[in-house]
Symmetry: D2
C-alpha cells in the first residue's frame, strides 16, 4: 500500500531516516527465527563487535536496544546516574533541548547552558563551571555531537580537553545520533564514556535500534547508579552476554541482519572514506547555499555539519513552504525548521548511503522550489557550485579502478 504515490523515486533528504541501501533491504527481508539458537548467538556477537569498530572503541561494551535514539539517551542516563545527580548540558537546538527535557523528567539536576541556536557549545562556560566545581558535584557532561536541528557539530575533543585540564572525573556522555558513522568519531581517543546512535541515520537502517557503547568508567558507574531501569538496564544485558545468549528479551532478528549488512557496506567502503564522502557532500551543499545567496543556520564554519545543512530563508518567506513544495511537486523530502527556527529554516540531510548525483538531484530540486515560491534564485547556480567541488574531489570508486 502506498499513500499519496508519486512517479519515480522519493528523494529522501531529511536528516534521518536516511536512504536504505538495497543490500540492507535484502538483508532484513526475511522471516522470524528462534533467537535462542546458536546461529543467532553468532550473528549477535558479530554485530556487537562490529558497532565497536564503528564507534572506534576497543575498551567499551556495546549494547543494541530494540528502541530509538530517545531510548538510547534514556539508557545512557539511567545506567550511569542517580536521581539528583548534577549534569551539565548544552541547549542549542531541538535535540539537545529534548535530551535535557528527558534529563529533567528523569529527575537529574541539569545545569543547562543555553547557547544560541546555530552556535556550538560554549566551551568557556563549561571551562568556568568545571573550574569552580571543586567538589566534583558535576557527575556528567552530556552533549549532542551533531545538533540535527541547526546543522552544528560540536568538538568533542575540546570538551575532553577541558575535563582533562581540570582533572575532572565527570562522565562524558555523547549523543552521536547524526554523527557516528558519518562524521569523525573516536570514542576511545576522545575519552567518551558513553556514546550512542540510532539505526536510521548513518547506518541507513530502518528505525528501531538504539546503539550504545559504554566505556569502563561508565560500566563502573552503572554498578551504583540508582535510577530505576529495567528495559534499558545494561546489567540485564551483561548477564546474558556472560552466558552467550546475548538478549534479556526478544531482539529483532531482521534488524540485526540489516545491521550486519550495513556495517559490511561501511567497512567495505572504508569508514574513513565514508567520512570523507560526507565531508565532500557537506561542503558541496554549503557551496550551493552560498551560490543561492542564502545563509546557513550554523553561525561559524568550525561548527559546520557534514551530515545536515540548515538553510535560513529570507524573512519574507516561510521555510515550511519549501518543504511542502518539495513534497508536492518533486517527491523530495526535506527537513522542516523546528521550534525556535520553525518557518525560518529548512534542512537538507546528506548522511548515510548517499552519493554525489543523488545530492545534486536534490540541490537542483531546491533551486526549482526556491523559484517556485518566489525567491530570485538563478537556476543552476547552486548545482554549478556544488558540482565544481564534487568534480574535483570525488575519487574514482575504489572497486572499479
Amino acid at each position: 500500500m502506498e499513500y499519496f504515490p508519486a512517479p519515480g523515486r522519493n528523494h529522501l533528504f531529511v536528516p534521518g531516516p536516511t536512504n536504505v541501501p538495497e543490500k540492507v533491504i535484502q538483508a532484513f527481508s526475511r522471516g522470524n527465527e528462534d533467537h535462542r539458537s546458536p546461529a543467532f548467538a553468532t550473528l549477535s556477537k558479530s554485530v556487537l563487535d562490529g558497532v565497536k569498530d564503528l564507534f572506534k572503541t576497543k575498551t567499551a561494551t556495546s549494547f543494541i536496544f530494540p528502541t530509538t535514539g530517545t531510548g538510547a539517551w534514556e539508557s545512557a542516563l539511567t545506567n550511569t546516574l542517580s536521581p539528583g545527580d548534577k549534569i551539565v548540558s548544552f541547549r542549542l537546538g531541538q535535540f539537545s533541548l529534548l535530551w535535557i527535557d528527558q534529563m529533567q523528567r528523569l529527575k537529574f539536576n541539569v545545569d543547562v547552558v543555553d547557547c544560541e541556536w546555530g552556535a556550538g557549545a560554549d566551551l568557556n562556560i563549561l571551562n568556568a563551571k568545571l573550574a569552580m566545581d571543586y567538589n566534583h558535584e558535576i557527575k556528567a557532561i552530556c552533549i549532542v555531537h551533531n545538533e540535527t536541528s541547526t546543522g552544528v557539530t560540536n568538538s568533542i575533543p575540546s570538551i575532553r580537553a577541558l575535563l582533562d585540564k581540570h582533572k575532572h572525573p565527570a562522565l562524558l556522555l555523547v549523543d552521536g545520533v547524526s554523527s557516528i558513522g558519518a562524521i569523525e568519531f573516536k570514542m576511545d581517543e576522545w575519552g567518551v564514556d558513553v556514546a550512542l546512535t540510532g539505526s536510521q541515520k548513518a547506518l541507513g537502517l530502518p528505525t528501531g535500534l538504539g546503539i550504545v557503547c559504554a566505556g569502563p568508567k561508565a560500566l563502573e558507574a552503572a554498578k551504583t547508579a540508582t535510577s530505576p531501569r529495567v528495559f534499558f538496564d545494561w546489567a540485564d544485558y551483561l548477564k546474558f552476554y556472560k552466558v552467550g545468549s546475548y538478549w534479556p528479551y526478544t531482539p529483532s532478528s531482521q534488524m540485526l541482519y540489516a545491521l550486519r549488512a550495513s556495517l559490511d557496506l561501511i567497512f567495505e567502503e572504508g569508514l574513513d572514506n565514508v567520512i570523507k564522502r560526507h565531508a565532500r557532500l557537506g561542503e558541496a551543499t554549503r557551496l550551493a547555499v552560498a551560490a543561492w545567496g542564502l545563509k546557513l543556520c550554523t553561525k561559524r564554519p568550525e561548527w559546520n555539519s557534514d551530515t545536515v545543512t540548515a538553510v535560513v530563508v529570507p524573512p519574507y518567506l516561510n521555510s515550511l513552504d519549501v518543504v511542502k513544495m518539495a513534497w508536492k511537486k518533486y517527491n523530495l523530502s526535506l527537513g522542516v525548521g523546528l521550534n525556535k527556527v520553525a518557518g525560518k529554516v529548512f534542512r537538507i540531510g546528506h548522511l548515510g548511503f548517499v552519493n554525489e548525483l543523488q545530492l545534486l538531484g536534490a540541490l537542483s530540486g531546491v533551486e526549482m522550489i526556491l523559484k517556485d515560491i518566489g525567491y530570485p534564485v538563478v537556476l543552476g547556480s547552486g548545482v554549478a557550485a556544488a558540482a565544481a567541488h564534487l568534480q574535483k574531489k570525488t575519487p574514482l570508486i575504489s572497486s572499479r579502478l
Copy 2:
C-alpha cells in the same frame, strides 16, 4: 548471510517470534521515508485504529512503541502507577516472574501470589485479598493472560468479576503478549484497563513493536502517576496525537506498514476465525501429546493454552535434548523449558500465521525426535490423533469455496 544453514524451510514452532507471512515481509521490504509527511500520518492513524479492533476496544487509546513486550510492560506500569503503589500479581511462570521482577525494580510494592507452575492464577487468594482491602490500597491487578512458559491461559473475565463483586477500583493490567490476536480477548467487555502485546507473536511481525491500549481509567491514572518515564510516556504521544503527527520520536515505517499488512490478513480471515483456528490447532496438539503418552505442563484443561503447549518429558529424559535434536536434525525450532521447568518441559508454539499442515509437520518431527532420544513413541500416533481432530474441524478456506 546465513549461519548454520539447513536444507528446506525452518519450522518455527517457538511460541514467538512466529512465522511471518510473505505479504508481511513484502510490506516491510522497503526503504525509509519521512515520518513527518502527510502520507505517514495517514498510515499512522490507520494502524492506531486497527490495533483497537484487534484488542476489541472502542474506548481505549492505543500506543505503538518502538520496543518489545518488556518495554510495553514498563509503559503500562509507569504510566499508571507511582513508586510504592501496591500491586497484586501472580507468579506462575517465567514471564509473570519477569514482569514481577520489573515491578519490583521499578519500586512498586508487589504483593506476589505464587502459584504452581502449570496452574492458573489462584482466584481464591485474589478474592480474599480484595475482600480484605478495605482501604483500596491495591492500586492494580497485573496478570499475564497467557503464560507462555507453561501453556496456561488465565481467565480475565473471572478477575474482572472479582473486582466487580468487591466494587474494587484497582486497575486491571493485562499482558496479552501471547494471547491477543490468537485467543479470545475482549478489552472493553472484560473491563481491562491496560492491555498490551508485542509484534512478534499473533501478529506475525518482526520483533520491535510494543502495542499498548489504555482505557479511560488508565489514562486518568496517568495524569497523576509519578513514576519517572520519558521514552514510554503516554503523555508525549497524546500531545502528538492532538496535532496529527502521531510520533514524539521516530517510528519504524517498515514496521507500521508490516502491521497494516498483518491486520489486513487477520481481518480478512476474520478475527473470530483466527481464534477458532488457534483453538483447533491447540486441541490437535494436546491430542498428539496424549497419544504419545506424555503429560502437559498445564495442570487443568480450563487453563489449556491455544497458543503454546508445554510438554513434560519423562524424568529419565532431558527436554533440552528434544529442542537440540529438533534443530540439529529436522530444522525445527521448539521452545525450551525455562527456569523451574528447565530440562523438564519443551514447548510447541502454535500461534500466529500457522495452519494445519504446518502443525502436523512439526508434530511428526516431535515424534521422530522422541524416538531419536529414546522415548518409546509409536511413530504416527500423535499425528493420527491430531489429524483426526483437524480433518473434522477444519473448515474450507472461505475465499476458495
Copy 3:
C-alpha cells in the same frame, strides 16, 4: 552479493533495463505457486487485460511470453508470416538492424530500406514501394517505433496513412519496445496489426516478459502462416485461453505479479500523464545537451525520442570514455554508442519510473564527466536549462494536491 560495489544508489540511465519501483520489487519478492490454481487464472486474466489498455487496444489479443523483446519479435514474425514472404523494413539503427537480421535468418524476403542512422524511416521510399506493389507481394511492413540506438521516434500514423492511401493489405508490425507505455502509442487507432514490448523498459520490470498484442488481421494470418514455431506459437496460447488456464507452459508468477503492480502504478498516475512526463523529461534532456554545445544523434526534431537521447561527442573525444567515467566515478549507468555510432555517441535513457530530480542528478553527472574527460563544459549549464523547463512544466503531484 554485489560485484564492484559503490556508495549510494546506482543511477540507472541506460535506455533499459530501467529503474524498478519499490512497489514492483515488493510485488515480485515472493515464492513460487501452483500456476494451475484458480488464483493464478484470476491474476493471468487481469494482466492480459491490463496490457491491452497499455497498448490502447480493444480489438487485439494479448500474449505474455516468458522471453525478451528478441523473442517477442520472433513471435510477431513467425505467427504471421511464411518463409519467403516479402517484408519491407527500415534499417536505421542497431535494433532495427537486429530485427532485420532475425527476419533474414528466419528466411523471410526482406526488402531493406537503409536510412541514415539518426534519421527516421524514409516514408517516400515506402510510398514508392507500396505504389508499385500491384500484386500485394509485400506481406508486412516491420518498423521499430522508437530506435533506441539513435534516439529516433518514427511516426506510425504516417505509415498507416500510406498503407491506407494505397489500400495495401500488408500487415503492420511494430516494435514498441522502448516506446509503449512511455510515448504515445495507439494500437487500434493507428491500425497496428502486431505490437510488442519488453518488460524491462517503460514497465520498469525485470527483463523476462515479451508482451505481444495481435489484432484480428494478424490472428487471421496466423492460421495460415507456415513458419515453424512452438514456443512462440500463439495457437497454443489461444487453446489455453479457451479453457481458462491461460498458459501452455509454466509462466513466471513473480513477473506477472510485478506486471500487475507496474500496470497499477501507470494507471494510477494516468497513462497520458506518464506520456506527458516522458515528454517533459525528454525535452529537458535535449535542452541540456544544447546548453552543453553538443549535438543530438537525431537528425530532425520531429524524430526526437522522449525515452532516450543519443548525444554526439566532438570528434576528438571517445564517447565510450563518457560511459566508463560515469560508472567508475559517479555510479551512473549510461548507454554506449552501438555499431555505426560506437565511440561517437553516448545515450541517456529517460524512460520508465523516473522523475525530474533523478534526471537532473544524472544530467549534473554528465556535466562533470564531460569536464573530467576534457570537454569544455560550463558546469551547471545543462542542469540550468533543463531545470528551467522542468520548473515550469512539472505539475503538482496529483495525489498530493
Copy 4:
C-alpha cells in the same frame, strides 16, 4: 495483492514450480542494472560456470536462456538438427509427449516409441532400432530423464550403453527438467550431448531460465544444423562469450543473482547430499502411498522417481477431487493427473529445497484429504511409514553438528 488468500503458508507440492528459499528471494529482490557493466560480466561468468558443475560436465558449454523448459527443448533441437532429421524418442507421459509434438512441428522426422504411461523407455525397442540403422539415419535420441507426469525416471547410462554397443553416432539429447540438481545426473560420464533444465524445479527459482549444456559433439553439429533459429541460437551466444559480454540480448539480472544464490545453497549442502535427500524423501513418500493401500503410477521400482510420486486413486474416486480438496481446505498444492491419467492420478512433487517435516506435513494433508473424499485411509498410517524411514535415514544437519 493476493487472490484467494488462506491462513498460514501454502504447501507447494506440485512437481514444479517448487519452493523458493528465502535466500533466493532475497537475491532476486533487487532493481535492474546495466547488463553491459563489468560487474554483470563477472556475475554471468560465475553462473555459466556454476551450472556446469550442476550438470557434472567439464567439457560442455552452458547457455542460460531467458525462457522456460519448453524453450530449452527448442534450443536443444534447433541447434543440433535440420528439418527432416530422424529422431528416436519415447512417448511415455505428458512431457515426453509434448516434446515429441514440438519435434514434429519443427519438422523433424520423429520415430516415436510409445510406451505405457508409468513405464520407462523400452530399451529393447531402442536396441533393435539402433541395430538396424546401418546407415546411421538416426541423428538423435531424445529422452526425458524424469517424466514428471508419471513419476518415471529413465536410465540414461543404459541408453548410452546401447549407443556405444552399436557404435552409433546419434546425438543423445536429455530433458533433465525435473531431474538435474535433484536426481543423479552425470553429463560427461554418461556421454550426454545436450542436457537441459528449467529454473523452477530443482534450482528452486522462479520460472524464466532455460538452462542448456551442449557437449563438443553437439556444438559441432550446431555448425551445420539448418533449423531456423535466432532467439535460441547458440551461435549468437558464443559470439558474445568470445568478447566477454555474454548476452546477445538482455538477460534478467534478478534471475542470475537468484541462480547464483541457488547454486551456492546446493553446493554448500553438497550436490551429492542434495541427491541423497531427494532419495530419502522419494522413498518416504512411496512408503506412505503403500501404507495407504494405494498404487504408484510407476510400474516398476527401477523407474521410481525421487522427485515426483504419481499416485493412482481407486476407480471409484476422481483424483482431481484430491487436488481440489487440498487447495480448498488445507492450502496444499498437489499436481493433477494429465492427459491419459487425468482423473486417475494425483502427484506429489518432492523436489528442490524441501525437507523432511515439510514432506510429512504434506503427507498428513493427503491422508486427511483421502478421508475427506471417502477413501478408507487410516489417519497417521502413511506418515508413520514415512517417518519410520526418515527418522532412520536423515543425517544430522552438517553445519549444526
